[in-house]
Symmetry: C2
Subunit: 412 residues, 2 copies
């Protein structure tokens, strides 16, 4: 197999049927942005959408905006737009609060639904907020234990004490994708529920919640969905569970009749019971614009492009950066991972900083991971080529040893 | 005492030293907006502030925005700007999540701090979300009871079983203001904690959290703080409690070292432990612009104006709308209420709709309340006069009996 040259990458871009979607995004000149899995890029439509809500709707219609512009329907409307990306029905997805808050609702909801069971299973190294929120639920509830097992042995660890299996579908550093259907089946065989964190999956890889029989899921609005920094998150509750499950963040928007102002909580009939407080309308407007970018995308083609991008990165790293001490920390097979790829390197932090100084934005994840995210809606094959070429230069010329790249600042 | 005429109201506006602040807000022509206690008006500065965050910061700097524009510091920065409005220290106030979510954190935190106590005291007819969230905490925690007592007898009801007294400082319908210092003292005498909901107080009436020895508080960002629909909310934890109290919504942003990505939760040293997920940066930017409107306001003068506006409304209702069946549902003395005033009327719903049709925006609260909110930053004395004049016409000519005003739609 010949070495990949820049012209080959350009040829892949020319052949890419999705190439035009890139024009829908603001992508600053001189930057190779490979961090869309951390914060997605700004869709060109978003500024106007936000401005419309602020100036025309809030400014002119004030309180009447809730009905006149259906602000009140945003959680369901954006949820329905996300549903096809994750293999769910429109009325199974709701947009509200943050991923962490939604995790709390669903973890607590699962425990309340399995009161005779006391164990939450997860994996060590899961995204921290998932584990931290489980701890918080357990501390308030009492009598609940969190058991961590490596992902490969988690199915065997499920037993009749397991209330909930809490896993991230695509791991935030390694990008490893778990077998949703198999793990869900194993959980159900023992009567346990499963909660999937789809933060690094949604909009990047195929997700088949209904087909897998999944119970519960959450996901992030500011990564591949391009909803903006700190965008509202989403949650999924399978139709069959919606009338049984209760959740303790029982704010007024989840009441069956919020504007009756009753003293006692009566949960809304179905998914709306997962609402809590008043939704952030301006944040929702930005997320709605982000999700709308997926409307006329051929999803199988999008996911295939994501795999091709990550495969190209791994191949180029082998061809151009072998011998510099990088170790692939992601599965070698693109089918088994998300759209981001991680490498271990003892000097990952200064290497990442040296890349950023050259306009190549990936990110560092403690203690030793360099992570590159490819967003198939706007990342080009040539971007991947150029990023690896920069990395080759950084390593060959030892540019990362410059003192300015060593100092560890606040990293997000 | 002579009857107040329109010229008198105009004279009050001419004498108002705060009159110029109105120009900082977008207030649509032909509307008398007396619902700023439900959704505050749009500050003129907000559109640019939001646009800057969206287009210049997110669009151009992408992930680097978290540090470059100190997005990560928004919760503390806006909290510090709210602190002087509520008599708190800058490091006692944090902006994050919704009021409902923050209620959950603090109610649960109080129960965890008083594990040997089992009762939450509140009043019937408190704002629903406060009661609903207390129910949710109690359901998850188990062994907790919520006791409702009329506000006047709540101090006597506090005993050694009381973990938390949960009250709204200014009641959402009646506008009645409770004696924060006295109730807090009564609670402390029995070792109980107090949580004050300041949603209808902040920016409208003087609040002296520290002087009252208050423990905990929450408040809303979209009412008098003018943060926009569904704006993030704030919470207050007295300095002395910050290192002792734990809260169960333990998302990664509340970790002592969020970017160390540890498996176990270690709460941040102080108030930051009340953060949960990633803050909504766009929503925060709008709220920051809203709160900034208070920066150079003479607060005692602002609160005096609020009292004068509500006193004028009550007086005018007596002079012009007596005999139409309205009953004042708020305290008669302006010192004992917030900046909104409610009236009971059997036909409050169609009356409210008939007023809205004439451009007078107050609101209806089930089952029979007509509510008018005066926002001292932008409501004029003449607005109050004109609103009552419209109401007089609506009642005298029985305009509210038109069929189109009877049909109850979705009300927010």
């Amino acid at each position: 197999m010949n070495r990949i040259e820049r012209e080959d990458a350009l040829e892949l871009d020319r052949a890419d049927r999705l190439a035009a979607f890139r024009d829908r995004f603001v992508l600053p000149e001189g930057r190779l942005y490979l961090d869309g899995n951390s914060l997605g890029a700004l869709p060109r439509a978003t500024s106007d959408a936000v401005q419309r809500v602020v100036s025309a709707q809030w400014g002119q219609d004030l309180i009447a905006g809730w009905n006149a512009h259906d602000w009140i329907g945003l959680p369901q409307r954006i949820g329905a737009a996300i549903a096809p990306l994750i293999g769910a029905k429109p009325d199974e997805v709701l947009v509200c609060d943050s991923t962490s808050v939604n995790l709390f609702k669903l973890i607590a909801g699962a425990l309340l639904l399995r009161p005779e069971r006391s164990v939450i299973l997860s994996e060590p190294g899961n995204f921290p907020t998932d584990l931290y929120v489980a701890e918080g639920v357990a501390a308030l509830r009492g009598g609940v234990r969190i058991d961590l097992h490596e992902a490969d042995s988690i199915a065997e660890a499920i037993d009749e004490t397991t209330a909930l299996v809490l896993l991230t579908h695509v791991h935030y550093t390694t990008g490893r994708m778990l077998d949703m259907a198999a793990i869900t089946r194993a959980a159900h065989a023992k009567g346990a529920l499963v909660l999937w964190d789809l933060s690094h999956s949604t909009g990047a890889v195929p997700v088949a919640l209904n087909e897998s029989g999944a119970d519960l899921a959450v996901g992030c609005g500011y990564k591949y969905l391009n909803g903006g920094p700190g965008a509202p998150a989403f949650l999924f509750v399978a139709e069959a569970l919606q009338t049984q499950i209760r959740q303790p963040l029982s704010g007024w928007m989840g009441h069956d009749s919020p504007f009756a102002f009753e003293d006692s909580y009566r949960p809304a009939a179905r998914l709306d019971r997962f609402l809590c407080g008043t939704p952030s309308v301006i944040g929702m407007a930005a997320l709605e614009a982000g999700v709308a970018q997926f409307r006329d995308v051929d999803l199988p083609a999008l996911f295939a492009k994501g795999r091709a991008l990550s495969a190209l990165l791994v191949r180029l790293m082998g061809e151009r950066c072998a011998g510099f001490g990088f170790q692939l920390a992601s599965p070698g097979n693109a089918e088994e991972r998300g759209c981001h790829v991680s490498f271990r390197h003892a000097d990952a932090y200064p290497v990442c900083q040296a890349l950023i100084a050259r306009g190549v934005v990936g990110d560092f994840r403690a203690p030793d991971r360099l992570r590159f995210g490819m967003a198939p809606l706007y990342t080009r094959f040539a971007d991947v080529f150029d990023a690896v070429a920069h990395l080759e230069t950084v390593m060959r010329d030892r540019l990362w040893t410059e003192p300015r790249f060593q100092l560890r600042g606040r990293v997000t």
